[in-house]
């Protein structure tokens, strides 16, 4: 996979996901423009995680399709890359920070994996701990590793699934700062969150999911605050 050249938008068309007889997502259609910072809100089980994992290509939808669009809303021919940050860190505890990033950089086929790993460690402020095993990291530091990993191939879209879970206030502030920088640099962000916070304040748009369907969207009316703090959030 080669790094994406510019941020991209995403179009979800009639995305449906069934597990046996249970519908996790029912015909969700959304369009996210390049550069938007979108928050997905909703209760547990509303389909946020499923939608994000489908966008990341980890889960195959039962039906429907996803296409990537450039800033002029034209479909990009080859599949763009997404960076995915979940509640799990998705890095190896038994390897050092440096070894982790090197491994993933190599797997991605990045031209100079060592220097790229170096750069990212610097960006997330982990250069001092590069030779420490990830097992010794705090939750906040692990989250930084997760972000570093997700950014390795300069993804066109950054997907985050409840990234603030388990972070202390400093961690949340750092995350908000980092995401703000990315948003201002024009990167497309789609993230799921619970309720309002420093991070949700970054959003330019909010979408509420309920029982696998889109309930509300700031794009079609409704304020950010109301969608984020819907009764039961």
């Amino acid at each position: 996979m080669t790094p994406a050249a510019c941020p991209a938008g995403m179009r979800f068309e009639n995305i449906e996901k069934r597990y046996g007889g249970l519908y996790a997502l029912r015909r969700v259609s959304l369009e996210i423009a390049a550069g938007e910072c979108v928050v997905l809100a909703g209760r547990n089980g509303s389909g946020k995680t499923t939608l994000l994992r489908i966008a990341a290509r980890l889960v195959r939808p039962s039906s429907g399709s996803i296409t990537f669009l450039d800033s002029k809303k034209v479909t990009i021919a080859e599949a763009s890359q997404t960076g995915f940050v979940a509640h799990a860190t998705m890095v190896y505890d038994e390897l050092t920070a440096e070894e982790n990033l090197l491994l993933f950089a190599r797997l991605l086929g990045i031209a100079e994996p060592a220097s790229r790993a170096e750069t990212l460690l610097g960006e997330v402020g982990l250069t001092g701990r590069r030779s420490s095993l990830v097992r010794t990291f705090s939750r906040g530091m692990r989250q930084r590793m997760a972000i570093a990993r997700a950014l390795l191939n300069e993804p066109a879209v950054l997907l985050l699934d409840e990234p603030a879970t388990g972070l202390d206030p400093q961690g949340v502030t750092w995350l908000a700062e980092t995401l703000r920088r990315m948003r201002d640099a024009g990167r497309t962000i789609l993230m799921s969150l619970h309720g309002e916070s420093e991070i949700s304040a970054l959003a330019t748009r909010a979408i509420r999911l309920e029982a696998g369907s889109v309930l509300a969207d700031t794009q079609s009316g409704g304020s950010l605050a109301s969608i984020l703090t819907f009764a039961g959030a």
Binding site: Y19, G20, G21, L22, Y23, A211
Partner: protein, 225 residues
């Protein structure tokens, strides 16, 4: 309903006819006497079991590629029916062996391989009980079913090679030990009867599985509401 009764009647007729053939029409075998007649139950059961497992294999392949639930239903039905016939083989083998050789189990190549075959498909069914999510269960059991079936020729081949090192009593005589034409006819007719029973059982089991899936669907939708 009428179709089921008709189908059941035909199968019953075939089985009774086959039993009659085995007991009265087939000539008595020279050396072993009457007990040899269990041959007409033992061998067709083995062939039918393998046929059922082959159907399971095809269903497994189709599920992996198409992901339609009905292939999963067919797979589990075929596996259970195949296992039933394989159990008959494992039971009739010793019943024959004991009066003839004085031993219940001789570790004969084919019977031992059948035992491993039985274990493989028991494992298949056990796997299904240990994976809860229905789509995942169907996919994993289909994949294991594929691995199990491609292993079957290797199992039979390697065990036969193993047993040629230690020749000993072979259940029902070796292959090509020369069957009288009437015996062949009775044997093939028995197989036909067994195949019809296999089909009936598989269809019934398939129906149960389809109903169970419908029930689960209704229950899940009720819970979600």
């Amino acid at each position: 309903m009428k179709k089921h009764i008709l189908g059941g009647a035909i199968v019953l007729f075939l089985l009774v006819a086959a039993a009659y053939g085995a007991l009265y029409v087939a000539p008595t075998e020279r050396t072993m006497g009457t007990i040899q007649r269990i041959f007409y139950l033992h061998v067709p059961s083995a062939w039918t079991g393998l046929t059922a497992f082959f159907i399971c294999f095809i269903a497994n392949l189709l599920y992996v590629v198409r992901r339609q639930p009905r292939w999963d239903w067919l797979g589990v039905s075929a596996a259970e029916v195949g296992l039933t016939f394989t159990t008959v083989v494992l039971v009739t083998g010793p019943i024959w062996a004991h009066p003839v050789w004085g031993m219940w189990w001789t570790w004969d190549a084919r019977l031992t391989s059948t035992f491993v075959l039985w274990l493989l498909y028991v494992a298949y069914l056990l796997l299904r009980t240990l994976v809860e999510e229905p789509d995942r269960r169907a996919l994993f059991s289909a994949l294991f079913g594929i691995f199990a079936f491609i292993d079957v020729p290797l199992v039979f081949g390697s065990i036969r090679w193993w047993r040629t090192q230690h020749p000993q009593p072979v259940v029902m005589g070796g292959t090509g030990s020369g069957l009288d034409p009437t015996m062949w006819r009775v044997l093939l007719f028995s197989w036909l009867a067994m195949l019809s029973l296999m089909t009936l059982l598989m269809l019934a089991r398939y129906g149960v599985e389809a109903m169970r899936a419908d029930l689960d669907l209704v229950r899940q939708e009720a819970e979600a509401a």
